[in-house]
Amino acid sequence: MPVVSFREALNQAMDEEMTRDERVFLMGEEVAQYNGAYKVSQGMLAKWGAKRIIDTPIAEAGFAGIGIGAAMAGLRPIVEFMTWNFSLVAYDQLVNNAAKMYYMSGGQFNVPIVFRGPGGAAHGLAATHSQALEAIYAHVAGLKVIMPSNPKDAKGLLKSAIRDENPIIFIESEVMYGDKGEIPEGEYTIPIGQGEIRREGSDVTVVSWSKILQRVTIKAVEELEKDGVDVELIDPRTIKPMDWELIFNSVKKTNRLVIVEEGWPFAGVGAQIAYEVGKNVFDYLDAPIERVTQEDVPMPYAHSLEIRSLPSVERVVAAVNKVLYRD
């Protein structure tokens, strides 16, 4: 199977879908002439031209809204936010227009659009540039939220997102763009809303996604393995709609759950997972559910503070040991 980087996987997904459907186009800051601030759209202007690969001014609400209008009028835009931090100035467009248009119009105007870009912290970007924002989008009725953790899922899910008839929030990670991984030969898609068991296990279920899964949780699971702890690791891949059955069945087997996410704790995605599990498989739980999240503070610049603010291998291991009542 071919090995490609996360960046290339996204590029392939967009390129293949643009080949398949001429209504698909890409719009965003520096996506064309500059080949993308993080080079995700490398070579696309040269191949597709300025009609379909479009540089925008710094006007997120404006070009997000243009994408929404174009989608209502029959096109299938991919709108890149240079990072998801900058989507906050366009938040109203995503929440009030993209998410609600199909419903408000009584089923007349659906909005087939993908908003994508890197989310979460990189290294030393501080408070305004290090936000994991999945919760504020997943909270909103009418949006689907996708957060792949590897090249295979990134390509398969982005293709499904572009083909979906509804607005999609697709969150990547700039620190993962260079990650390499195997992808299937040729054409494939991965269904939205389908999680994946990354490692089967019997002692405890750990749910984690995106960069934190790849950079932190997996390492913790390896350490725990050495320590004789058999973790079942689940990557939901899609945050909303969440693959509840996959998680419920795992917890029924392990009777324990730890959720590891990059975002802030209060009313985060992990809180919803904890609630659903508590409600639906209550009798199977042998220990309180633990969450590992970012500290409830804005992100500091200093490296030592930044890494302490984010979930770490140590904190994940500790949480797993806690639900296993080990020490």
């Binding site: 186009f25 009609k51 925008t56 001014p57 006007a59 609400a61 404006g62 070009f63 997000a64 809204g65 243009i66 994408g67 929404i68 209008g69 174009a70 989608a71 209502m72 009028a73 029959g74 096109l75 109203d92 467009q93 009030n96 227009n97 199909y102 419903y103 408000m104 119009s105 009584g106 089923g107 007349q108 105007f109 659906n110 087939p112 009725a141 009418g142 689907k144 499904s160 572009i162 083909r163 979906d164 008839e165 509804n166 898609t189 991965i190 269904p191 939205i192």
Partner: protein, 344 residues
């Protein structure tokens, strides 16, 4: 700064532009009258508690909707507007029965009772809504125009907004992008002098709102919104220009709203006097247009009497249709959240 820069209110007899048949002109009068009577009925029904939520009426501004939409553009052109949207929907050919049913929250309404007064949509008429977040629809209008150009279609998008909407950020972003990318959209400011209770000069650093187009190198004009023929000429020129060159325009049309901002706002009081409103009514677009039609011998008093009867009948039918329509089934609550996707 003040708004005395407005074109002098005028009842001056302006000759109908060449090429407009009497039938066409009379159909415009019908459209204006229908909007007027439809809105009066809405006020009644609101008072009776049959219409809920916010309801923003269009009385006094009819010449803008009729001249711009029924007059200056075609079926395939798109229209998008804010929450004061009944008039534009009617002018675009949206079935007034369906609009009235929507206001009563019925299954037969324009959006099956989902959107209500502020969110009228009709895809079959290229009526893109009905948007209630001020300024939020301005980029959407540019996006619709973007799609027309992308497909090499020669359609244009008319986007209506209030004077107050010119102060919000999305106005700036949308107009800059429309001009920078040459998108066939005509932005129409319906300057009715007030944003809710705030006079233009208390909300905008310049009162000549069309001049904001200068910052975007955008074609911009102002016209008298009391005279449907002036509106027609001005919007037609802008729409034709967009069709030919893809270049957008910013039009400021001076008009006036006779009723309060919404049904909960009194006609006068905090921000304008009874006298001001009465003075304005002397230039009622229906009267202005009727005078022109009479002066040109296109219609006489009998015709106008007939028109009243004809329109009253339509409005009565709207109410009857709406009243007799079913409520949406509860299951509708969970429908239309996501369009079923074949994609995956």
């Amino acid at each position: 700064m003040n708004t005395t820069t407005a074109p002098p209110l005028t009842k001056k007899k302006s000759v109908p532009p060449h090429g407009l048949s009497p039938e066409t002109l009379l159909s415009w009068y019908d459209d204006m009258l229908l909007i007027r009577r439809f809105e009066e009925k809405c006020a009644q029904l609101y008072g009776m508690g049959k219409i809920m939520g916010f309801c923003h009426l269009y009385n006094g501004q009819e010449a803008v909707s009729t001249g711009a939409i029924k007059g200056a553009i075609t079926e395939n052109d798109a229209v998008i507007t804010a929450y004061r949207d009944h008039g534009q929907a009617i002018s675009k050919g949206v079935d007034p029965k369906a609009i009235m049913a929507e206001l009563l929250g019925k299954r037969t309404g324009t959006t099956k009772g989902k959107g209500g007064s502020m969110h009228i949509f009709d895809k079959s008429r290229n009526f893109y809504g009905g948007h209630a977040i001020v300024g939020g629809h301005l980029p959407i209008a540019a996006g619709i125009a973007f799609a027309f150009k992308y497909r090499n279609e020669k359609n244009v998008c008319l986007c209506f907004m209030g004077d107050g909407a010119t102060n919000i950020g999305e106005f700036h972003e949308a107009l800059n992008l429309a001009s920078l990318w040459k998108l066939p959209v005509v932005y129409i400011i319906e300057n009715n002098k007030y944003s809710m209770g705030t006079a233009v000069e208390r909300s905008s650093a310049i009162a000549e709102l069309h001049r904001k187009g200068v910052a975007y190198n955008m074609r911009n004009e102002m016209c008298d919104g009391y005279n449907v023929l002036e509106v027609y000429k001005t919007v037609k020129a802008a729409a034709d220009h967009a069709r030919e060159t893809y270049e957008p325009s910013l039009l400021e049309i001076r008009t006036y709203r006779y009723r309060g901002h919404s049904m909960s706002d009194p006609v006068h009081g905090h921000y304008r006097t009874k006298e001001e409103v009465e003075e304005q009514k002397k230039f009622d677009p229906l009267i202005v247009f009727a005078d022109i039609l009479k002066a040109d011998g296109i219609a006489d008093d009998d015709w106008f009497e007939e028109a009243e009867k004809r329109i009253k009948k339509i409005v009565d039918e709207c109410v009857e249709f709406a009243e007799n329509s079913p409520e949406p089934p509860i299951d509708d609550l969970w429908n239309d959240v996501f369009y079923p996707s074949s994609g995956e």
